[in-house]
């Protein structure tokens, strides 16, 4: 029915990976998208070398924002904060299986990565 809502994406939406709150997190951040009501609470822990060790999220929103968050929690493990900061829309689209997002859906897909960047900045890792 829709190219956008491919099976891989729907699986992440219906059964999100790393859903919940990480205890004793190094990064703990909340980000909202007021124009569509999407919210995300993201927690992350870094390993001794300063790389992302584990990310968890909770929140509610559309398929795109929630699937992107779920996929991000898997994709960023092992990355440095600088590598996370360098992630752009193109990288998120690749991470989501080569999706091409329409202009109106870009901010949905970027909610999680922007939350992680914000959290890394606020915790002094960036």
């Amino acid at each position: 029915m829709s190219d956008l809502y491919r099976e891989q994406l729907l699986e992440h939406y219906h059964e999100p990976q790393n859903y919940g709150v990480l205890p004793e997190a190094d990064v703990d951040v909340q980000l909202d998208n007021p124009t569509c009501g999407d919210t995300i609470h993201l927690t992350a822990r870094l390993d001794p070398e300063g790389r992302i060790a584990k990310v968890m999220f909770e929140g509610h929103g559309c398929v795109i924002s929630m699937a992107a968050a779920s996929m991000l929690t898997e994709d960023v493990v092992g990355k440095t904060p600088q590598e996370v900061a360098a992630l752009e829309l193109h990288d998120v689209e690749e991470m989501m299986g080569g999706l091409r997002l329409s202009m109106g859906r870009v901010k949905c897909a970027l909610l999680a990565v922007n939350a992680l960047k914000k959290g890394l900045r606020e915790s002094g890792r960036l």
Partner: protein, 408 residues
């Protein structure tokens, strides 16, 4: 008696295309309506035969452009029941019309301790200008509540009018979210009895039902041309004595009578409020759009859309977990908002798009109204003259598909 839908659709070139290999089902006319061929051709005609700046040139081409521009003004004024075209000011859109009133009338008349009454169902364009004015002047902004059924809580108005502090009551003639048609004559009579002016937002009502400023008795009416099939332009109608007492909104060319180094005097109505080169071809197209609707008849337009609303209200509940916002009787406008349990409105719109169906998803520029219903967003299908029951059928089938795809 309405029209032959297939014949009418052929007058709208954009509807002839396919989207993602499907027939285009356009259900977002409340945001902006599609344009009939007559309007599109009128723009071309202006630019190819009669374009020059208006009110300035002494050559015949400029006189022709001015004549077309002013003839359109007369048609638009007549369309809303105004007898004096000088009371009809061209603006960019209904938003600018409402800002004009809030600035030019509001800054002159609203002072500390005054009250401005609006409603919870206002579009941001009939809300934020009043909010800003109230903050600037130390005035109170009060809201007429919306009931759970999506109607205005009329009993809340008399207490807001009782102390004589209310200077203006501003409300929509048709909610762009709920489709609700407030009792405008009743509200106007109550406001006037308390010495308050009435500002009506006609952005949704003017394209979809007969609106007559004389019958309604309102003091200002804001509406847009692009929502009734015209180009990107709008209009403000106001009572001459009020407009004459107001200072200009924008300053510059054409709105001026005489300028000295340290003083200026203003042009007569309506030019006092039309600073700078206006949207000339768009104004002509606005007039043609009004002709197009007048030929169909606004009673027939309303009857057609009420038929569609009745059919949509009957069929939409077939979709499991669908909830309709606003009145569930058909005596309402053709903006039908709804939400689906467990599915974000953006996903509804994206999936429907793949079926060639255009709907709106989000807050529809009415955030306080969504907060009133505890919703982060909603989906909206809205009807116009070119929609038919086949569009409602496509919408319902599309929504069934959305549920099948996204709900587990």
């Amino acid at each position: 008696m309405t029209w032959n839908l297939e014949e009418l659709r052929r007058e709208f070139p954009i509807l002839q295309q396919q989207v993602h290999g499907k027939r285009l089902v356009f259900l977002d006319s409340a945001a902006s309506a599609q344009k009939p061929r007559a309007v599109i051709e009128a723009l071309t005609t202006v630019y190819t035969t009669a374009y020059a700046n208006v009110h300035r040139g002494l050559y015949s081409l400029a006189e022709a452009a001015t004549a077309h521009y002013e003839e359109a003004r007369e048609k638009i004024a007549h369309f809303i029941g105004a007898s004096d075209p000088g009371e009809l000011i061209y603006v960019r859109n209904a938003t600018e019309a409402l800002n004009l009133v809030a600035y030019a009338w509001g800054r002159k008349h609203i002072t500390a301790g005054d009250r401005i009454v609006i409603t919870e169902m206002e579009h941001h364009s009939n809300l934020v200008p009043w909010m800003m004015l109230a903050q600037e002047r130390g005035a109170e902004l009060a809201y007429l509540p919306v009931t759970a059924a999506g109607e205005l809580e009329l009993t809340a108005l008399p207490p807001l009018l009782a102390d004589g502090r209310t200077r203006v009551v501003a409300f929509t003639l048709m909610s762009n979210v709920l489709g609700t048609i407030p009792p405008a004559q009743e509200l106007t009579a109550m406001a006037h009895a308390a010495g308050a002016l009435v500002v009506a937002d006609g952005a949704q009502a003017v394209p979809h039902l007969p609106v007559n400023v004389q019958t309604l008795g309102v003091d200002f009416l804001a509406f847009s041309g692009h929502k009734l099939g015209g180009p990107g332009i709008g209009a403000l109608w106001g009572r001459r004595r009020l407009l004459e007492a107001m200072p200009p909104f924008l300053f510059g060319g054409d709105m001026i009578l005489s300028v000295k180094k340290h003083s200026a005097t203003w042009n007569e109505l309506p030019y006092k409020f039309e600073a700078g080169t206006p949207a000339i071809a768009e104004a002509v197209g606005f007039g043609v759009a009004v002709d197009f609707l007048s030929a169909l008849g606004m009673e027939a337009v309303q009857q057609h859309e009420q038929m569609l609303v009745a059919y949509a209200l009957e069929r939409l509940p077939e979709v499991p977990g669908l909830h309709i916002l606003g009145p569930t009787h058909p005596h309402r406008g053709g903006a039908v908002s709804f939400w689906l349990e467990g599915i974000h409105p953006h996903d509804i719109a994206s999936v429907l798009d793949s079926e060639g169906i255009c709907i709106r998803a989000g807050l529809h520029c009415a955030e306080p109204l969504h907060a009133r219903f505890g919703l982060p967003a909603s989906a909206r299908a809205s009807f116009f003259i070119y929609n038919g029951t086949d569009d409602v059928d496509a919408l319902v089938a599309g929504l069934q598909g959305v549920v099948k795809l996204l709900r587990r």
